[in-house]
Amino acid sequence: MSKANRLERRGVVSTLLAGRKDAIVVGGLGASTYDIAAAGDHDRNFYLWGGMGGAVMIGLGIALAQPRLPVVVITGDGEMLMGIGSLATVGLQKPGNLTIIVLDNEVYGETGGQASHTGTNVDLVGVAGACGISDARTIATMAEVEAFAPSMQDVSAGPRFVSIKIDSANLERVLASRDGSFIVTRIRGALGFGPI
């Protein structure tokens, strides 16, 4: 069931990525990866089909290696909860070019819609702020999404953390590549790095 007045995830992600330019985008395991694929395949997309809890850390590794490029992690509340300690690690490193976006529908949508902690007791924005990510906010409207998207290009003002409350509708899957070697080699190629 969808709660009233929640945003629709595909519209949110396509709006965030419309002006992505050279940004590298990491999608967490589950529907976030489908959302990023639905917004358009891209040689700088890092799709995850496993490694639950690792999306933010993959984003951090890229962000530290490429400090002049915007790096955007888009994941879900369940995936973020599993890697919650990585917010502490990001808060310590403070990469200016990293943006973390959680699409929060308060359920584990891939596995039958079981409730996650964010619907009852966990405030992810509060956690991020307490971990030292001072630019941590909640976004509730498409106008705010549109206003926020360009700020992801500023590689000196991060890290940023955004929780966007979305509805819990299960949308048709848009399948990205699930070949890890291909995904990583393609990103490296886009950055000018060849194979070993």
Binding site: F46, G54, I58, L60, G61, I62, L64, L191
Partner: protein, 183 residues
């Protein structure tokens, strides 16, 4: 001979093998050094923190380091993960990334639970550490004598970074020294 106060610890010369590991990491242009601290890694961590070209990344749990290094590789950098044997158990699912992305993964694991261990809680994970790593597709090398660390580390770094072969170098508890709880 000079007199020591009773509360002072005996002065021991720092071992040279951590510095040898550090030199090899520098020569292989390792840029991101992720770790959950362990006493056996303390000297190496100090070197990393002083190195201008290396980024030290303390973790809250070891599995974060696998994902970090996958991202580092996508972004064009090499990394290494420093942990204790108990941390290997925290990594199991995330070790999948080493096979999925086929990236140059190297971890240096200080061993507990094997050589004169005092703490029984270290024994189960220490005993299963080599098996867990091998079952996860990681090649396991081991150094037990101070004189062999540089050679084994050179081999480990070479196969990890040149051959993209995920590798763990186990640093034996005998090498590091048994942790003393009661003097």
């Amino acid at each position: 001979m000079h007199l020591r106060h009773a509360h002072e610890k005996p002065v021991e010369a720092a071992p040279s093998w951590p510095d040898e590991i550090f030199s090899i990491l520098q020569r292989f242009e390792v840029r991101q050094v992720a770790y959950v601290p362990d006493a056996g890694h303390s000297q190496l961590i100090e070197r990393v923190l002083e190195a201008p070209l290396m980024r030290a990344v303390p973790l809250t749990t070891e599995e974060e380091g696998i994902a970090l290094l996958a991202g580092a590789w996508a972004g064009g950098q090499r990394g290494v993960l420093l942990m204790q044997s108990s941390g290997v158990g925290n990594c199991i699912n995330m070790l999948s990334l080493t096979q999925i992305f086929r990236f140059p993964f190297l971890t240096l694991v200080t061993m507990r639970g094997e050589w004169g261990e005092f703490n029984p809680w270290q024994v189960p994970m220490g005993s299963s550490t080599p098996g867990v790593l091998e079952l996860s597709g990681i090649r396991v090398l081991r150094a037990s004598d101070p004189g062999e660390v540089a050679d084994v580390m050179e081999a480990a770094a070479s196969q990890a970074y040149n051959a993209c072969t995920p590798t763990a170098l186990l640093l034996s508890q005998r090498l590091i020294g048994t942790k003393v709880f009661v003097k």
